[in-house]
Symmetry: D2
């Protein structure tokens, strides 16, 4: 029973069916009929004009977004534990040609407007200091917290004051929306987000994420850079098909609700152990080495997260029996 | 009836079935069971120890290979019309951090050892001139010509003399082997090739190419750079599955023979019009604008290739009826 | 007697005196009184508003100019034998983060508008091809030819048609102006040049070149990149002092006329041997190995330039006796 | 009376004389007689084989050193307030093609072996995390503290354990040696330093710093990259002359002792206000806004350093009268 990563989950049958349905001759790259619908589909979903590109990984989505907003000599504010800073092998520096990630602090990988504003003010405006050009936030965060529309709007107000672009890493955007219950536009463009990495792979997809630009003027260069980074798949229709299948019938929300629900069930069982509120599909627990060993002996797989702590992640396709078994096992810990 | 690109072809059913079969929980990235077999499978195929990485595009494979052999301040010899020089949007410069492609001449995008040696000798060995560190050749070439094992060996001898790595862009490697009828090791590592971009997407794959290192010491950094370029798919098993399916039962060769056979049929019909010998699955024909229009009116789609010339590409899944129809239509041109 | 490079020449006494005169406490970097005058001084010289930066090498000037006009994914048209393409160790690729130099042909390293326009037209406007963003020309060229104002204007018309920036590498700009006899604005901004690398080091300077932007909007980022490239000297006043000394009393023109005059004297003696017209301070001669040996035995130092050819360069401080001696020696060749 | 930066100081007369003496025809770039002596001169000074390159700024020296030790996908441990992290406009990221600076904490910009070792251990050794390849320390630090030979040796032991190169930013290396009173080899190669940026510009030089490699194998590529970064001055003899003049008769030490002595005099007067021990030529004082205003009204110029603090820097050429005046003025503060 696997709770170490939603990356390990299977692919939604609907996605595979859509790929099979796409299996016919069509124009290469993103010239095919499916890829050509993406701008419209996302514009409808968000309620504003969007430009949307498929890419094969969240890292590529994040980094193409940042490269569209930040020159090589610029900087990017982000949380110190943001995925872009900690887990992408320097990909943001690669795609931006050496822009500087400027790590900030905040509980649960969440940033406050005060933190960002103070960090900006602390940087002298001269040629010796790298000047920030963007802020990147993750929603839901790397610790499973969710930014509300108001919180994003407050951050974007700081961005506007200082000429910063605003990027949202939405590897678990669906989980955030499932929790917020708001329109997806509310926590993105209406709150001032310029570009969103809209994750599908953790949520039932196979190899397709969407990079959605609300500032559509940024998309043209991003398309060039996608090709230049080797990310313009020659059979793009199989990429588009995945995304379209998950958007259809709100599958992205259905799946996210399932994962979030599983996390809520476990959270209820682990209430006294939670390091952070559980607002999406990740749980961080206080767990001694002995307790962790007990759970693992019971067949549950998860990551240690430093001394006496553990990370558990639920997935869209987690069987109820597994979830309940884990909840019971946690309750049964001495 | 589409003859403009083998990129537009459908995906082999065997590939899709393998992807479906892989659709279960497994370790993320390339830690899954399928990905872990690739080194062994390619080592068996080539008859020597290999390190093999899946990537989603040929551009990524080529550029990761070059970046493993060429420092940012180095150069890469290649044909002026090599895909890396003409059609990859500067991706080699991106992945290598600015190495210089040094375009050379040769009929049909094919290079001779004399050309490479002369170009090397013409570069003074001082800090003012970019020094070449690798040679990249394409087999089959962008004009559908095939390098024989002896030809590759003669080029690699020049490379050894001058300390150059040797990369083979094998976007149509299967087509080359189908024509050569040799062991795949003969035209690669036995002939001195250090790294091969082994193409599958044009030959029935969906989104997986293999980057095969015969100098296995180059693979470790390439794996880091794959992640850094956003090319480490989180569900790697679906990448590995594609490649394994095409290697199984020699499907890669079966498919390539089909495409080559289609090209041969058309070549026989177009003998007087051929700009280059047809040694793989591409045909370059003299074709007036009127003749091109006639063919298009007959339902045949292909690229113009400059004034009075056209490129036609056959695919692994081209229906015989379409091939014969095109051959007849060409014969029937006035 | 040295005719191999004007880089080997001594520094003008006026330059050294100006540096001595600057030797007092002042603000660091380019905040000093002298550096602060540069914009104004160059604006006066060129008759239009300029932004001028000192840098320590022509390579830095050229590459900062290109980086201001060309994104990492863009291209730069230049002559195949342009200094930026042949002799700067890949510095343009470094400063631009991998933009592609697109070498063009032309006699004497000179480009025609037809050549540039044809090259532009040959590049499909899609994401697979690197799109050119600038043209760089060298005046006087690497073979000592001079572009006239009309010739530059014709090139800039092509640039305007295709959205290309226009950079002039003026390592020997003074020599060009000395020959043209025109106002320096005529062959630069009035003819459509956006940025000029105005060389002083070959013409009596020590370590200061000027990067002059006629599109002053490009200067702000160039100043950031100058720092980022380690080219913002902390004692900038000694850089500015050099440039100001050479501009004062038209020393830059006096010096260039001296070098050009020396070249003309030798050219007259070598009339039958000239590979190119001598329009500045470089001479390219047909010279057999025996003839070269004879001249060297007479104490004259110069570069061989391929088989049976030689390059000779005159300098601002070349003693008349040396010039006459060389002219006689050439005349005396059998 | 200027105490805001040793960058603002004048150039040593001995340096200017040496430049005048170098003012004759010689080979360009670093082929001249003076440049060719540098390896030997530094080898003698340090008592081991060195390779030494002149460059025009400390930023260039630091960044060429780092680029020689750290691949684009690697990381560099340094103090959060290290000059390379805070004041070089992202130059390290530029020269290394995007390597990641990994800021660490420590009082007075000084790092402990425990801090470095703990930071190394915290980084999982997988492809998702940037792996550090070097440690850079500044001696004297940005807060005027000095690393002893034992302290450097303890850091280098950590570096050896983890395969990290060790770079020393010696913008004020002379000041450190003047304080330590040790042989310059003791705190560098004998303590495990691989490359040293040996500063001269703050200490009486004009535009020349030395990049000294104790691992001489790193120098060859650094020379290529120096050219590629536009830092290979064409008249290199004037660069070498500056360095040689300051090494002659121990002028570098004489100058540093003067600056350090000035700082000691002021420190004695400001004993109760010191934020850090004064071990070189920088002082950080508690100083209210009123007190700062009083000093400035007295003609003393210096930087505010955050709220209620100030930075004062002494120079090699600071007149005794100015030093004494400042000491008195500080003593006289209410």
């Amino acid at each position: 029973m696997r709770f170490f990563s939603d990356n390990a989950a299977a692919v939604s049958p609907a996605v595979l069916e859509a790929m099979l349905a796409a299996n016919q001759v069509d124009t290469a790259y993103d010239g095919d009929a499916l890829s050509q619908t993406l701008d419209g589909v996302f514009s409808d979903l968000f309620g504003t004009e969007c430009a949307a590109l498929w890419v094969s990984t969240g890292t590529a989505a994040n980094c193409l977004a940042l490269a569209a907003m930040v020159p090589p000599h610029g900087g990017v504010f982000c949380h110190a534990e943001a995925h872009i800073n900690s887990d992408e092998a320097g990909a943001p520096e690669f795609f931006t040609h050496g822009a500087k990630l400027m790590p900030l602090a905040g509980v649960g990988a969440k940033l406050s407007p005060e933190t960002v504003a103070a960090a900006r003010r602390a940087i002298r405006a001269d040629v010796h200091r790298v000047q920030p050009h963007a802020l990147s936030i993750t929603n839901a965060t790397e610790y499973g917290l969710v930014y509300t529309p108001d919180e994003v709007a407050a951050l974007s107000a700081v961005c506007r004051d200082h000429g910063l672009g605003l990027h949202m890493d939405g590897a678990r955007f669906a989980n955030a929306i499932a929790t917020l219950g708001c329109h997806p536009g509310d926590v993105t463009w209406r709150a001032g987000v310029d570009a969103l990495s809209f994750g599908f792979v953790k949520n039932g997809g196979l190899s397709a994420e969407a990079l959605v630009f609300f500032r559509t003027d940024l998309a043209e260069v991003a398309k060039i850079r996608r090709k230049r980074a080797g990310h313009l798949n020659s059979k793009g229709r199989y990429q588009a098909a995945q995304i379209l299948a998950l958007l259809e019938d709100d599958r992205w929300l259905v799946n996210a609700r399932a994962a979030n629900g599983a996390a809520a069930t476990i959270a209820a069982a682990a209430a006294g152990r939670l390091l952070y509120p559980v607002e999406a599909n990740e749980l961080f627990l206080r767990l001694t080495a002995d307790e962790a060993a007990t759970l693992r002996a019971g067949g549950f797989d998860f990551y240690d997260w430093g001394e006496g702590e553990a990370r558990l992640v639920t997935s869209w396709d987690q069987p109820t029996a597994e979830i309940d078994a884990l909840a019971s096992a946690i309750r049964a810990l001495p």
